[in-house]
């Protein structure tokens, strides 16, 4: 049995591995934590630049990169969660005390939090990209 190649096409095998990931309370809070880090990054960088250099950070592209990285992580965790919500099992409403339903519950919650965090990161990024001075 061991070292046997996975059945079916490679794509399905990857999705299968995603479903096998260990999902915990810690993975649930990945998307909002990314929002928090992005938020602090934007706020502290602007605050320190303005206070110590007396000028708005010259590399506004850094905000673009930072925002893109944050959104990419949120999208990735959202996508993993999306795959996990489609774990086959008994039909909706998925509120039984089974392993699969617990996985689905954490996945749906993570997916929803990813959606909220995605929007919230955009909310934070907009002023960083539109306002460009320290007043």
């Amino acid at each position: 049995m061991k070292n046997e190649a996975p059945h079916g096409p490679e794509r399905r095998g990857f999705r299968h591995r995603l479903r096998e990931l260990r999902v915990t309370l810690w993975t649930l809070i990945v998307p909002p934590s990314v929002w928090a880090v992005h938020f602090l990054f934007c706020y502290l960088w602007v605050a320190v630049s303005c206070a110590k250099l007396g000028a708005f950070p010259r590399f506004t592209t850094a905000f673009v990169i930072g925002t893109a990285v944050a959104e990419a992580i949120i999208l990735a965790s959202g996508w993993i969660a999306w795959v996990q919500t489609h774990t086959p099992g008994d039909p909706a409403p998925h509120d039984q005390g089974t392993d699969i339903d617990r996985l689905r519950f954490l996945a749906v919650s993570t997916l929803l939090l990813a959606g909220l965090s995605f929007v919230a990161v955009i909310f934070t990024a907009v002023p960083a990209l539109m306002l460009t001075d320290c007043r």
Binding site: V46, C50, D95, A120
Partner: protein, 841 residues
């Protein structure tokens, strides 16, 4: 005839008798107060918080009477300052937060089918701390020394001892003491939700109340400690003259505003979410269906918790911060409306989809939602910086915050009171009085606070003791005052209803026909909490699981007996609630009360500058805590395992990451690390505010790199030796473990000396400037922690020598290792900051 042993009525009666004996409350006029059972302590806690609410409400009535007509002189300006400060502080610190903890201490074990929360003595300690601190703070108004600087206590008026009296110290020290009890309760509630659920209650079957409480308790861990850090700096300035907020010596009052509002804004959600949690229990019961969108509610709770920490600066929009900073916080303030809206729509949808039973508690829920939504809408308005610049510090804000807090906290709690009263007393409250009271409260709240939007926009500032007639706001204020009396009449009707309760008849069991576990409680409740700990297969087991109540009552589930005469409950795994341990709970004891008195004496004596007496109090407190730990924790059981029924045997002792004690240490240290990061934030905040930070000159030169690095090295040595002691002990090398513990204690003590040597030898003068002051503060914090680390290492050594810790029963050394991990992190941050930061060396 079943083969099940529980079919034997005699056996069941004998079990019940044993359980009754074990959970019997102590008797006697004094010793009855030493009980630690949650359903006793929770009731005392709730009544005390309710009493403080009534008291703070009376203060508000006096204020409204003063403001009823222009140029009134009912109270003096000085008294008025004390009235609004105490009203705000009491409602927040002595009512809203403790009330959520009190209600949770009653409800949570019932909801989780546990006999009690994991640390009942900690709950009792929290209660006594709360009572002592609360009486101390609120009683100050009778001696005309109540705090008078507003509930936010902005420096510099409050830190300058020539401008503010004893009241500021009473606020700081009294409320710091209460924050200790809040953090204690948060630890209890988090570990309770994570580790004391009944078998089978996986994360996706947890009652939503438990989800909310988990989220809120975690928020407390990250919100309260920054305020504790702020309190430390504040009292250092007031009592020792260290200039943290004094502009003339490099300090900055804005730092206080940051630390206060990092606490203060999440605080609003800390008091709002538990009330929403009550909705999440009440709505499904009266909609007669499962709550719609369970994961959506969890999203809303967790999302709100996170976003609420990105809002604090919206209280500081007018302090002159850069507009770009305001924009970030404005964005987060707008974003938090999303999860808040989602949970309200989930409740509306559930009511829509259900067969609604129009009861009194549901009336309160719907009415409070209406009030809360108005407050939420004005919240979106003031989250927009240009509007806030106009409305800031006017009665518009008073209107907004009261709409939020009355709709989001107070009226839901009254709804919860009507809903859960049968659970506590076995008797229902009067529907007629309840509905009458509701309409008084609803009309009163709107009549009081709606006109304030207009008086604010017309230019009435907050916190003024009177106003001129020419302003044209006399009519609006009179309406507000009349409204406040209507509201008070509503509260009085509720009180009458409560007072009549003892004369009423018992109601049937589960009078609302709810589906969740807490309604297993019997009208003639026994003190054991739950007859047998059930196996859970559904979110609403009473509705969905066959013969559920009967099986629980007949002891057909787990742990139906107390053979060894000990209070016990089941500990389960975090994700899937698989049973892992039977934990022995602390019974009635006088130690929690005495510890609270000793700790209270430290805070209260310091307020009156009686430092030597306070030091004695601190030593007594330490002694009490050690005695408590020595006699009440990590007890080696008389046997390894015990059966809990259905052929399952569980260990009586576990250590490490699956034990509740380990979690308690981990969670406490999260709070500690958060407070520490508040202090570190202070250091870097001053660095951004000053061109020459760190400064140089006599008394200002930094501690250099040498001594901080020595201190760091010995701190890390103490940490490694503790890890070594854990590992050698685990492998049975007890002698080596003891040696490492002893050496670790020596290293920790050396870290104190080396840590203090840096600023001492470089002659840093903390009264001179904020730089020496913040360096000394970081060093004192870190070395004090090293001292506590040494005490823990010596304590563990003593446990090992006394045979209370062995290679197999090693919870003590595992728990102090968690402390040492955080200690090492603290040392790295402190000594790198003061020794290596550019310019510091």
């Amino acid at each position: 005839m079943s083969l099940h042993a529980q079919d034997d009525p005699a056996l069941r009666a004998a079990q019940e008798e044993r359980l009754r004996e074990v959970w019997k409350p102590p008797t006697g006029w004094f010793f009855r107060w030493t009980d630690t059972n949650n359903n006793q302590v929770g009731v005392w806690y709730t009544l005390t918080a309710f009493g403080f609410m009534l008291f703070a409400g009376v203060l508000a009535m006096i204020m409204r009477a003063q403001l009823a007509v222009p140029e009134n002189d009912l109270v003096s300006p000085a008294t008025f300052n004390q009235l609004f400060t105490l009203h705000g502080s009491m409602m927040m610190f002595l009512f809203a937060v403790p009330m959520f903890e009190a209600v949770s201490i009653i409800l949570l074990p019932q909801l989780l089918g546990a006999r009690d929360l994991p640390f009942p003595r900690l709950s009792a300690f929290g209660y006594w701390s709360f009572l002592i601190g609360g009486v101390f703070v609120s009683g100050s108004i009778f001696f005309n020394v109540a705090p008078d600087g507003g509930w936010f206590m902005y420096p510099p008026f409050t830190t300058r001892t020539d401008l503010s009296g004893l009241g500021a110290d009473i606020w700081m020290l009294g409320l710091s003491f209460i924050e200790v009890s809040s953090v204690a309760a948060a630890v209890e509630l988090i570990v309770g939700v994570l580790k004391c659920r009944p078998p089978g209650m996986r994360l996706n079957l947890m009652p939503l109340y438990a989800w909310y409480i988990l989220v809120v308790a975690v928020m407390i861990l990250f919100a309260f400690p920054p305020l504790i850090a702020g309190d430390v700096l504040f009292e250092m300035e007031r009592l020792l003259g260290w200039p943290f907020f004094d502009q003339a010596k490099g300090g900055d009052p804005i730092l206080w505003q940051h630390l206060f509002w990092i606490f203060g804004h999440p605080e609003v959600y800390i008091v709002f979410l538990p009330s929403i949690a009550l909705f999440a229990m009440i709505v499904p019961t009266f909609a007669r269906r499962h709550l719609l969108g369970y994961p959506w509610i969890v999203l809303a709770a967790v999302g709100t918790a996170f976003l609420s920490f990105g809002l604090w600066v919206h209280h500081m929009f007018t302090t002159g911060l850069p507009k770009i900073s305001l924009a970030f916080f404005s964005a987060a303030s707008e974003a938090v409306a999303i999860p808040t809206g989602i949970q309200i729509f989930a409740f509306i949808a559930t009511l829509w989809a259900g067969r609604v039973v129009w009861s009194t508690p549901l009336l309160y829920v719907t009415g409070s939602l209406a009030i809360f939504v108005i407050g939420g809408l004005t919240g979106v308005m003031v989250a927009i910086a240009p509007f806030d610049w106009q409305a800031h510090d006017t009665y518009f804000i008073v209107a907004h915050l009261h709409y939020v807090l009355i709709g989001g906290t107070l009226i839901p709690l009254f709804g919860g009171l009507y809903y859960y009263w049968p659970l506590i007393t076995g008797k229902k409250l009067s529907d007629r009085l309840g509905r009458t009271a509701f309409w008084f409260l609803f009309a009163g709240a709107n009549l009081t606070f709606f006109p304030m939007h207009f008086s604010g926009l017309l230019g009435m500032p907050r916190r003024v003791f009177t106003y001129p007639a020419e302003l044209g706001i006399g009519g609006l204020n009179l309406a507000s005052t009349i409204g406040s009396w209507v509201f008070a009449a509503g509260v009085a009707i509720v009180c009458v209803d409560l007072a009549l309760s003892p004369r009423r008849e018992k109601s049937p069991r589960n009078p609302w026909e709810a589906g969740t576990l807490e309604w297993l409680a019997h009208p003639d409740d026994e003190d054991w909490g739950i007859r047998s700990v059930p196996l859970i297969e559904s979110r609403y087991p009473i509705w969905d699981q066959k013969d559920f109540v009967k099986k629980v009552d007949e002891g057909r589930f787990f742990l139906p007996d107390a053979e060894e005469g000990r209070r016990e409950t089941i500990v389960t795994s975090v994700l899937d609630a698989r049973p892992v341990q039977v934990v022995r709970l602390g019974g009635p004891s006088i130690k929690p009360m005495l510890t609270a008195i000793a700790l209270g004496s430290v805070f209260i004596l310091t307020t009156y500058h009686l430092y030597w007496a306070a030091l004695v109090g601190a030593v007594v407190t330490l002694g009490m805590i050690l005695l408590w730990l020595w006699t009440g924790t990590a007890e080696i059981p008389e046997k390894d395992c015990k059966p809990i029924g259905h052929g399952i045997e569980l260990p009586l002792y576990i250590s490490g990451a699956s034990a509740s004690g380990w979690w308690a240490m981990f969670i406490t240290m999260m709070a500690d690390a958060t407070a520490f990061s508040g202090l570190v934030f202070g250091y870097y905040f001053f660095w951004t505010r000053h061109e020459d930070f760190p400064p140089s000159g006599a008394g200002l030169d930094g501690p250099g790199a040498f001594w901080p690095m020595v201190a760091l090295a010995v701190s890390l040595a103490g940490w490694l030796m503790t890890i070594g002691a854990r590992e050698t002990n685990r492998r049975g090398m007890v002698g080596a473990a003891r040696a490492l513990l002893a050496l670790g204690a020596v290293a920790s003590l050396a870290a104190i000396g080396a840590g203090l040597a840096g600023p001492w030898l470089s002659g840093l003068a903390p009264k001179l400037h904020v730089y020496p002051a913040i360096v000394w503060t970081l060093v004192i914090w870190t070395t004090a922690h090293a001292g506590v680390g040494a005490i823990m290492q010596l304590y563990t050594l003593a446990r090992s020598v006394a045979g209370k810790m062995t290679p197999k029963y090693d919870a003590d050394v595992r728990n102090i290792t968690v402390y040492q991990h955080f200690m090492a992190l603290t040392a790295v941050v402190t000594y790198a900051t003061i020794g290596l930061f550019p310019g510091a060396a």
